[in-house]
Symmetry: C2
């Protein structure tokens, strides 16, 4: 049963709008559940990548970005796509170049820019891992019906848009 004041705003004795301390417990629970799901799946994927291929999740993610860009990407692009800091990408790339998975060169038209690509080895290894990775994801989501998946996609798109709007409000 609803509590006494179930409305968004109240009118006080002088008929002036008053901010009610609103209850956002549901949104909070939703956020925690979202975080739990992601942490759970991420941990599982991380563990399988390590055990099966001895590779870390961030390296896999970086290679996944590059696999979609045959002509390479700049570090900034990668950083935006992966939603991590520039400095973070610098370090990841360094290690993947060292291990022979990535190729890095300075752009000829703008000497500030570094362009990175998968090497032949990098692409081959990534493809091998990615196909197994896909089956893990399928297994992790196995109990969802196609309708569940569609519905989640829709609601998460809405969530993403809402969060982006909120983030933009903070730093315009």
């Amino acid at each position: 049963m609803p509590a006494v004041s179930d409305c968004k705003d109240m009118l006080d004795s002088e008929t002036k709008a008053v901010e009610t301390p609103e209850d956002h417990a549901e949104e909070l629970r939703l956020w925690l559940r979202l975080l739990t799901c992601t942490t759970l799946i991420e941990g599982e994927v991380r563990g399988r990548l390590r055990q099966r291929f001895d590779v870390t999740l961030p390296r896999f993610d970086l290679m996944a970005q590059l696999d979609k860009a045959p002509d390479g990407m700049t570090l900034s692009d990668v950083s935006k796509r992966m939603m991590v800091s520039n400095g973070n990408v610098t370090g990841l790339v360094e290690r993947l170049v060292e291990s022979g998975h990535l190729d890095r060169r300075t752009s000829e038209t703008d000497r500030r820019v570094q362009v990175i690509r998968l090497t032949k080895l990098g692409r081959a290894e990534f493809r091998r891992m990615a196909s197994e990775h896909e089956t893990w994801i399928a297994d992790l989501f196995a109990d969802l019906t196609p309708k569940d998946v569609r519905e989640l996609m829709r609601l998460l798109a809405k969530t993403k848009a809402s969060a982006q709007k909120s983030a933009a409000r903070r730093k315009p």
Copy 2:
């Protein structure tokens, strides 16, 4: 329109069940979208906590767990709840004890066990941060209707159960 083979298994010319390389692109896209949402919101919350209260997200999360347990928790409990490694909790606790937010003592009935609690200061600071934190979350999810929230809660519960089942299959 569906491709030629839209079924889960095929019967080959000798009427034997054959594994078709299935297409799990939808689940993959769902996973990436889930990850994007979480990363986006997490980054926003992390930034606000830092700017507004000069506190890190993991410290806030740890305090949140303890706020719900007035009698304290063991490190193992905390580690399970937060879904992070034991060693990670050891370090976090160390820093929060140092700063005066946490109280740590060895259990009297089992000398292996460490019990931690919020100090008066820790609880006061957490409550102050938590109430503002709740408004950030509400704002981040502001465009979702109550129905969207309910539906997401339901689908994420299903997702969590599915992932847990899959994780259990791997390491029984």
